[in-house]
Amino acid sequence: MVELEIQILSSRREGLLVELGHVVVANGFTLLRQRVYQDHQGAWLVMVVRGEPAKQLGIEEVLATHDRVLSFEARLLTHGAVTQAATSCAPAIGSAPVSISPVGPDVQRVESMLPQLARDYPKIYPWLLALEHEVAAEAREASLLLAGRRTGVWVFKRDYEAGGKLGLADAIKRIAVPALRSLVAVEVRDRQLHMQDSPMCPRGGQSGCKFFCGYLEGMLGASSAPQSVFVRSLHCRSNHGTADCVLEVSH
């Protein structure tokens, strides 16, 4: 389990906690502490939540892109620090927002790049490489993962949504592979995808196939039943010096 302290700025206070509290619960997290206050910038909501590590990026993405959220910051709390965080933020939030260093994706940069990415799809590598260089090193992988997820869901809805709900193996074969082939040469062996010469993974590169992991998670999560799909990089030519990048898909 991970515990996150999330700070959100919204334009108005009414219903903020109820609305975003539902989002937290719907994404499999438990709300441990919360505090709402108002200042000259707007309404602030500080929440301490607990949930599975695998769902961290998902909840961050949903909250960061929620229509009531003007700004979003989150930080990972060390285990057992919840009580301390909740009590320590109580006096602080009376006057000014607590200082929180961003963890996870650089949502703002990803969001600003996505429209260009949609416009130029599938010729998107210049945008992705630019994103890779623009974001802070600690946010790089998470940002590429987020961009990949959003792109995967978008491509699925645009081109592959009409039809029956498929099992994972069929969704890989009928949807993910044809879609991925518009971006990179790929072969499928069982539930492993072998990508050849991925422009995102030059030798010594830093992205670690994260864009493609997110792309496949977004696409397969939206297309297959059940919806929880995980993709991990078994080999990346940027790290292992192998010719192919290998991604493994699992439930």
Binding site: A118, A162, G163, G164, K165, L166, D170, P178, A225
Partner: protein, 247 residues
């Protein structure tokens, strides 16, 4: 084909074309049924695709093929049975498409949907043939009747598999071409099973009040126009929806 049946090749080709057009419209409406957000939307999509398949692809195809067939004697059609044959096709196809489009893909569901559609095609055909009024006795070769049912079911299953399991052009075009084969394959096998025996020139009761071929031709023309318009609207709406999806 039996000696008493002579076909106009162009009308036969037209019958396949109309079944493909109807199938295309129906299956393109059907593959978006799972995307319906309310039960009302879902029901509307099921009924629209059932109508395109039952009335367009099957019923209209059947009567174009009947117009293509010269049996060497005047023929009229019982209006009640003719209307009933359209209703049977519509209901069976709506049910089949409803089953095929609900929940996750499974072979059992596909088989059930294919059997519904196959029975719909076959039921429509033989009820449509029962509506035929002419100065002769009609008999059937039951082996060929069974074959026609088998063709309709198997080809329907294949067409539904293509429509709901695949994506892209094969899904769109392939499923319609195969469903056209299901409908036409069933019809012409059923016609091969159809034999007539002389009854001494005795016309059945109601022959004079039956629908003549030229009336059917007009009805089919209207159905074809509606199908074409529906296919264009489906295509336009899909392009509009595709453009509206934001990343």
């Amino acid at each position: 084909m039996p000696d008493h049946q002579h076909y106009n090749t162009w009308l036969v080709l037209l019958s396949y074309l109309i079944s493909v057009l109807g199938s295309f419209t129906a299956l393109q409406l059907a593959v978006v049924i799972p995307l319906a957000s309310t039960s009302r939307q879902r029901m509307a999509a099921v009924l629209a695709s059932g109508a395109a398949m039952g009335v367009g692809a099957i019923w209209a195809m059947h009567f174009i093929a009947m117009l293509a067939c010269d049996m060497g004697m005047p023929v009229t059609y019982d209006p009640v049975l003719t209307a009933l044959s359209a209703i049977i096709a519509f209901v069976a196809c709506s049910l089949g498409l409803f089953i095929a489009s609900s929940g996750a893909f499974s072979w059992a569901k596909l088989a059930a949907a294919g059997i519904c559609m196959g029975l719909g095609v076959t039921g429509m055909h033989y009820l449509g043939m029962a509506a035929v009024m002419m100065a002769a006795y009609a008999t059937y070769d039951m082996n060929l009747v069974a074959s026609s049912l088998f063709i309709a079911i198997v080809a329907s299953i294949v067409a539904l598999w293509l429509a709901f399991h695949l994506r892209g052009r094969v899904q769109m075009i392939g499923s319609a071409l195969v469903m056209g084969i299901a409908v036409c394959g069933m019809h012409y096998t059923g016609m091969a099973a159809f034999n007539i025996d002389d009854n001494g020139g005795q016309q059945p009761a109601g022959f004079a009040h039956g629908m003549r071929g030229d009336y059917l031709g007009m009805t089919i023309f209207v159905v074809a126009l509606v199908l074409l318009a529906a296919a264009l609207i489906v295509h336009y709406k899909r392009q509009q929806r595709r453009a509206a999806i934001t990343i």
